[in-house]
Every structure is written in structure tokens, then in C-alpha cells.
Symmetry: C2
Subunit: 405 residues, 2 copies
């Protein structure tokens, strides 16, 4: 893994040179917390975005797909507290109005503004609040306000999610920053709920797109909190180029290290989203090796990661690895039971498809940790995949039984 | 629906003529409750069975697949408390030994005995207890003991599940009886955890197979408690023929009403399994109409029924229908958002993909009921499907965090 290859960069989306941000309270959240965020580049710059595959995609997703089509963005406007989903023609008009208002305030085309919303589904947007919030945010744009912006996109999140990484290539320092929000309706299918990545590396639009798609496939698209895919999922990458140097295309020697740093930032944010999954007490890493293909490994890993019986067992600190065997069995992956080997919380519990005696005391110690690893070797080929999830707790039920109330 | 077409028949699997049963305590369950069941026909008779599609199928499933291959059974032996799954060669030998012991006690071939097990995965069977239990059960076989047998197959079930139906065709009375167990690891894929259906109608083996497969596809294969598919799922049909009359083949005029009664019994049992789903407080009926095909309708219905966000909203009596829209969106079904209409607990909440104002008071009343209906019209074609599920409660987490402990 690439965890420690990079210098940490503070400030989230404003860590890279060339980006300002803001996060203000507009009164959309009943709590009065910050709920409108802006991310603005000095100039329109090479950008890419991936969106939810949901067939019920929300208006901001529909509008943003149009606006990113030329591979350039100047700004991103985000609100929390209302998803602007299942809002029909009015929702489309509201999403466009958010882009127009932002463009007017910072001086650019509306099509250079990407729009994102998160919150409750099926409620019309309180546009007077939203538009006043955008104006307020435009007045507070700052090169150090990445964390304000990250705070403004939180809903049921218990902590803000920002990270950054710095690397040097041929004497030029490049920085990547990012912010994301969870923490429910999370089995992203192209991007997590909302994630915004910035870099000052001079990536071309095509290089942005390639780097983002590769990173997302291995990070945000490999996490699940609750198996539910949002109507508003979105992940973007903006490359200001302010660090200097010639344009980086996907084939260049400088592309791979920058793309790896982007994947590193996406991976950190994705794991933060899971660790803050609604009601989560533990981060669970599920690794499947020995599959006949990578899609098979991913299918088996997701079957384990999404099984409520596996997730409740880990919440209860019960080394009930039989539920892992069950989950493999229900997945679409090719399986030969006689070759299955399961490590549960680091302990070999099943070999050749059969129970192996293990110490319940050792299991209790392993399950007391914040991180639990489940490793399955299907013993058939070299396909492998890692998926991150969290446990399923009483608190998850409480949060989601009461969400709208 | 066919709910009230049939006279209720008491006694579960012993309601039809020609079947004896027993349910005894063998000490496999730590609680000392009944845990070994027998169902025995007077003679080997036409039978059919469907089994889990899990690639991690347990030894009793593997052995029973062999034994049903000739379309005839004399007896079924079942134990609760241990699933005999992930038990390798020893598990295979234990499953065979259960058939051999039963055959010896009642006087038939071991291949005429079907073997079923349910309980914890990955623990070797306590065979001395099991074999003593089978001997005890054989000594207590009785034409009135259907409920003892139903009680003996319970694990986390809170009530026993038996039902029966009687009908008359051309002056001959036919009876169908059945028993089943839930109540977790339930998204059957060919059959529910364990369900045993009997009839005294003179069905052929081929007619048994056709009737059972049709009934299961529309009942047990359309329920989900937790989206998890067991390693031990099994559903059987035995037809003693004791009611008399000529052999009924699938093409006969008498076939359809008998098959409908079998489907009725399977449907009743399937809904009992869901109502008793682990921690369930409500039965949820999800109906999708207007899909481009029946598989599309089923996919959308299962996406709704398995969504933890939908299930927790109903537990919390929150008319959060946006989560239904989300679930449709993540399914593989073809969807045009502008045509989607959603009734949540009988209340129109979304039309043309857009929120419709509704009374929260009326919603609170509707959500206080034991039965909640979610109806989605995709407005595209005539594909439709109904899936039954339950809500997701604190108690579900408690039961499954502590199961092995």
C-alpha cells in the first residue's frame, strides 16, 4: 500500500496552490451549522468528474454532467441539508440557478460551475436561503478555508474529512488535497456521496479524467457502509496547474506519481467515510485473493462487506466466520469450497472449506481493535480486491429510524 | 390473492393423510428445547426438493440432492442447533450417517431419506446426541405430531410456523400441510432456510417438482429478511397419494387447483418467516408494477426490500419515501424517473418522479400498523412482482451481535 509515501498536506482542497474555498451557514440545516460550500480555482482549469450510476440521479448530477463535459471547471458550489433529488423540473431549475448565481459572483460562465447537493430527498430546495448562502460564501473565499468548506458539506458525518499529500518530481513540488462527506447511503457506484479533489499539478483534462476514474475504481467504488447507492454521488478532480511545469498527459513519466498521489488521497478519504459510517464502531477491511478474476474477487468481497450478519457479528465481537463462508457462497464468484481459506481478524478459522480450531481468547483480543481484517483466499487464481466497510450497530438503526424527524 | 380459497387444515405436515412426524429434544440446543424432527410417509412416495444456490452448500444439502434424484422419499430427518456446514469430509459422513440411522429405524433405503440441518456454521455435529435423538424421534412418530416437528426445527424463530389447506376436487378431499423455519440469513435462492410441504394428493414425482418449483419461485424466493442466503436452504414436497384417485400429472385438470393450494401454503409459510424475521416489528409488502419485465420488477422490489435505509425508516415510522426512490435507482431495473409513482404505506408520495405533498399525520397512522405496503409503478410496461420483507430494528443488531455467544 502507498500509505506513507507522501508528505501530508494540510488544508484539504485548499492545500494545493491556486484554490480558494469557503463554508458558511445559510440556514438550510435546521441546526444552523455551515451548509453552503464553495471551491474556486483562480482560473478555469482542467477538471474531471464521475457521478452516481443511479437511474434516479438528482438534478445537480444531471446539470453537473453537462457542465463537466468540456473538461474544465472554475468552481464547485455545494449545499448540505437538501439533496435536491426527486424534485422534477423545479429541481433542475434550482440546480441551474445555483450555477448561475455562483458564476455571477466570481465572474465566469455558469457552465464552468459544478453543482452538488446532499441531504433529504424529495423536498424542494429553499432557494432564497441557498442563494443568500452562495453570496455569503463568495464573500468569504479564502486560500486557507478548505476545512470550512469540508465542514459545510457534512450531514450525519461525525467528523470532517479532509486530507492532502505532497510529492516532488524533478524539483517541482505538487500537492493534492481533498474533502469528502459520508456517512450513510454509501455504496458508491462511480463516486462516493460527495468528494472533491484538487491538485496544483498541470494535468490535462484527459489526464484528470484518467487519474480520477482509476483512483475512484480502487477507492470510493470499493467502500460500502450500507449497500445503498445515493442519487447524488459525485467525485471531482480540479487541476489548477499553478505548481508550474509543462502540461502532464496520461502517457508522461510525471503522470504516474501524480496519479498515485491522487489515488492515495482518494483512498484516505474513502476510508474516512467508512470509519465514520452511520453508527460504525470499527473499520473492516475485506481482502479476497485467489479468485479466478478481479471482478470475482470484488463480488465476493462486497458480498462479505455488505452482509448484515457479518457486520453485526463484528459489532458484537463474535468471531462467527461461518457468516463469511455464507457470504462467499451467495456471491456470484466462482468458488470451490474445498479450496476456501478464511482468516477472520487475522486468525485462521477455515482451511480447505473446513473449520480450523482457534483460540476464542485470541479472537476476542483481535475483535477489540478498531480495525478488523477479513482475508479470504479462494485458492483458484490470481484475482484480488480489497473492500472497506464498517460494522452494523444499534446506533445505525437509531440514526436511520429518526433521520427526517 | 388466494388467501381465502381454502379450508384451513390443522396439524402442519401431518395434516394430510399418510404422514407421521415427531419432534424431540436431543441436547443439541443448549436450551434443552426440541431439536430433532422426523417426517415419515407410510410408504416411499413421489417427492421433490429445491436447495440453496449457495456455492458453499452444506453437506446435508449435498447428500439430499443425491437422495431426491429419483423423485421419491420415505422420510425427512432434521436437526436444529448445528448447520453441519463448512465441516468438510466429516460433515459429509455425518449427514450420510443421519440418513442411514433414520432408514434403519423406519425400514427403508438410506437414499429414501432427506437430511436437513440448521444452526451454527463450522462446528462439527455432536453425532452421539444426534443419533440418540433420531432413535428417540422414531419411537415417538405420531399422526398428530406435526407441531412437535415444527417446534424442533426452530432456531432464532419466536413462533413455530405451520399451516395447511384443504380443497375438494370431484368429491375427493385433498390436504396440503407445511412447516418452515426462519428467521435470519434469509434471502432464499431456490428455497428458504428449511421448509417441508406434504400433501395426500396423488401427484407424480414430475408434478411434485413442477408444483414445488413454481410455488417456491413466487413465495420463498420472494422473501428477504437480511439479504443473506444460507448454506442450508431447502424446501421439499412429499405427496403420499393417500387421499386416493388416479395419479396427477402436471397436465391434468386436477393439477392446477392442487398446485395452487401448495403455492398458498408456501406463501403463508413464507410470510410467517418474514413476519418472524430477526428483530422484525412489521411485515413489509413491496409491489412493483409497470416494469418492462417481471425480472426487472423483481430486481426493483428486492432493491427496496433489502435497503437498510428503507427498513430502518419503517422501523422508525418515518415516511421517508425518498429512500424508496434511491433503492429503485440503484437496482438493475430500467427506470424513467419522470414516470415513477410511489405509494408509501398506501399514501401517494411521488408522482412523475417528483414529490407530492402528503399528510404526515396520515403517514404516522399508516406506519403504526403491523403491515406496511410499498407500491411502485414504474409506468413502463406490464412486468410486476411482489416481495415480502420486514423492518430493521435494534433487536436485529442485538440478536446477531450475540448469536454464537
Amino acid at each position: 500500500m502507498s500509505e506513507n509515501l507522501y508528505a501530508y498536506a494540510d488544508g484539504g482542497v485548499t492545500a494545493p496552490a491556486g484554490f480558494m474555498a469557503a463554508g458558511v451557514s445559510a440556514g438550510i440545516k435546521k441546526s444552523g451549522r455551515r451548509d453552503v460550500a464553495l471551491i474556486v480555482s483562480g482560473d478555469a482549469c482542467a477538471s474531471a468528474a464521475v457521478f452516481t450510476m443511479s437511474s434516479m440521479a438528482a438534478p445537480p448530477v444531471v446539470v453537473s454532467r453537462e457542465h463537466i463535459s468540456d473538461g474544465r471547471l472554475r468552481a464547485i458550489v455545494v449545499n448540505a441539508g437538501n439533496a435536491n433529488a426527486c424534485t422534477g423540473e423545479r429541481g433542475m431549475a434550482d440546480a441551474r440557478a445555483m450555477a448561475v448565481a455562483t458564476a455571477g459572483l466570481i465572474g465566469c460562465e455558469a457552465t464552468d460551475v459544478l453543482v452538488a447537493s446532499t441531504g433529504v430527498i424529495g423536498v424542494p430546495m429553499p432557494m432564497s436561503l441557498v442563494l443568500a448562502g452562495i453570496e455569503k460564501a463568495a464573500g468569504e473565499l479564502d486560500y486557507l478555508a478548505g476545512e470550512d468548506a469540508a465542514e459545510a458539506i457534512m450531514t450525519t458525518d461525525t467528523f470532517m474529512k479532509t486530507t492532502g499529500a505532497a510529492l516532488e518530481i524533478d524539483g517541482v513540488k505538487y500537492t493534492v488535497g481533498g474533502m469528502a462527506k459520508g456517512s450513510g447511503m454509501i455504496q458508491p457506484n462511480m463516486a462516493t456521496m460527495l468528494a472533491f479533489i484538487t491538485t496544483d499539478a498541470p494535468l490535462s483534462s484527459a489526464a484528470c479524467d484518467a487519474a480520477l476514474r482509476t483512483a475512484v475504481a480502487r477507492t470510493f467504488n470499493r467502500i460500502t457502509v450500507d449497500s445503498d447507492t445515493s442519487t447524488n454521488d459525485m467525485c471531482t478532480l480540479m487541476a489548477s496547474g499553478v505548481a508550474g511545469g509543462e502540461l502532464i498527459e496520461a502517457g508522461d513519466a510525471r503522470y504516474a506519481p501524480v496519479a498515485a498521489a491522487i489515488e492515495h488521497v482518494c483512498g484516505e478519504l474513502a476510508r474516512m467515510v467508512v470509519r465514520d459510517g452511520e453508527g460504525a464502531t470499527k473499520l473492516i477491511t475485506v481482502t479476497v485473493t485467489g479468485a479466478t478474476s478481479e471482478p470475482d474477487a470484488e463480488a465476493a468481497a462486497f458480498a462479505i462487506a455488505n452482509s448484515p450478519l457479518v457486520k453485526t457479528a463484528i459489532f458484537g465481537a463474535d468471531a462467527n466466520w461461518g457468516r463469511v463462508a455464507m457470504a462467499i457462497g451467495k456471491s456470484s464468484a466462482t468458488v470451490d469450497p474445498a479450496r476456501v481459506r478464511i482468516h477472520f481478524a487475522g486468525i485462521l478459522t477455515c482451511d480447505g472449506g473446513t473449520a480450523v480450531p482457534f483460540s476464542e481468547e485470541a479472537a476476542a483480543v483481535a475483535l477489540a481493535a478498531d480495525n478488523v481484517e477479513i482475508a479470504v483466499d479462494l485458492g483458484l487464481g490470481d484475482g484480488e480486491a480489497t473492500v472497506w466497510t464498517c460494522d452494523l450497530s444499534y446506533e445505525y438503526v437509531k440514526i436511520n429510524g429518526e433521520y427526517r424527524s
